[in-house]
Amino acid sequence: MLRRILARLAVACATLFAVSALVFLGTEALPGDAATATLGREATPELLAQYRAQLGLNKPLLERYQSWLRGFLRGDLGKSAPNGEPVWKLISDKARNTAALAIATLILLLPLALALGILSALWRDRMFDHTIAITTLVLISSPEFVVGTLIAIALGVWLNILPPLSLIDANQPLTSQLQALVLPVLTLLAISVAQMTRMVRAILLDVLRSDFVQVATLKGASKWRILAHHALPNAAGPVLQVIAFTVGWLVGGIVIVENVFQFPGLGVAVTNAVLGGDLPTVEAVTMLMTAVYLGATLVADIGAILIDPRLRRRT
């Protein structure tokens, strides 16, 4: 078992290394660099060359990649292109806001989606199941910004309960401005609960169809006993995968939802960095986001190995 876990860890590290190469080389290999972004239209060839030398941009690409990677491993995310400030200083507040948004969503998402998924699998083809099926189909089909905009129109404009934008004062503690989280969290929840409910239902229906559940039914075990002792333990592994999948969606979804409400987080920061050609910030934030997703799949895979004896045996 330990060998499997270590092998999985090695794969994750190798992937993260390859991701860093693509992130850096993909953004830096093409024309248009930090110097042009900083100097803008006034750039003369001489000024550009001088600035590039100052930033070390005239060195070969691979050498720059090495020093960038070494900085990353030490926790130095590089310097932002327009003003030369450390990237981490610019994004640390935003990272905190985004983390709050993600954690609040996950805390509400997991119990909601598990309960709805399990109930609609148990009450298959009844009214409840059909209602859930249609509602979730519509929600998983709608883009994040459409759902967010419609929620903002409904709550902000027609019912007039909440402001349609989430402005957060960086000088105040986040706990005193929780109302700014409401609309973004609601939007993320609407889509992720819909998506996860459907997947949990499908997994559970698969398990309920298996031979051991049939045997338990024939033996006369009650519905809830079958669920608790036979179905759920066998569904746990795949459900972990679904959670990792949902985290992967959340990483991208947050970028869009933050932009809908102008929530001051990493999503808005990275979008503005892309639009402004601030490559060091783009590299840092995309690395962070991909690492979070990789971490989630890693935890899910290791969890599945720990839960499922069948995965443990084959080394």
Partner: protein, 295 residues
Amino acid sequence: MTKRHLPTLRAALQRVRRSLLVRGALSTRLGVLGLILLGLLVVIAVMGPVVSPHSATAVVGFPFAGPSWNHPFGTDELGRDALARFLAGGGTLLAVTFGSTLLAYVVALPVGLAAGYRRGLVELATIGSADFLIAFPPIVLLLLVAAGAGSGVLFAALAIAAIQIPRIVRLARAATLDASTKEYVEAAVARGERVSTLLRREILPNIWSPILADFGIRLTSSALLFASVSFLGLGAAPPSADWGLMISENRSALLVQPWVIIPPAAAIALLTVSVNLTADAVARSVGRSIVHRGI
């Protein structure tokens, strides 16, 4: 059209009607509804610019004017007719959705088939690079392409195809692995068929059902990704009309002029809902019924 062509046309129509995709889509009432809605949107996107009463880029009044007789949806942030922009704004989204998804299949199916059949180093290299690309959340990949190569419809469309390719490759490879152990494949090998013929005639027809079940997910995901990229300002560029862009351009007037935002928002949702309704019917007809938005 001459009489001589009619039988071939009829045969072609019959083949279309018998195909798994069409039969599947028509197999449930919701599937039919999805097809009708999808057809309606295609008509709006194609005919819209032709029947539009105003130019989509001409300034016709004050910014953010409410609905009136002349301008049923009012005007947008620059005083352009919201209806005209709505009618002109669907073409890019539909073209990119279908274009990049089909491009992805054209590239990914042969690769997946080859990887599943060849095994060995070819398979290892293909699956390794596919897994690597899947490690990126799609939006992150789109942001990277926009930062490195540039924004715009073409880059976004290519990036979306690149997002779908590894996902299709993995699926096609798994299905091929499954199919290539069947007796009919062994019989073809024993007959001495060439590998390309074998893949095309024996394996491809037998892996259609998992691929069709996944087709709708890929289409929806392409549509959602392009709409999102346009919303972020990295897809369709102003002053062109685009549903995703319309929503982000006019967001500041959510309180005063929601009528410039609601039609494109509803149309995008309708597009993806109708694709999913159709896809769900197809997936059910081939015995698989999990529809998600793909990541």
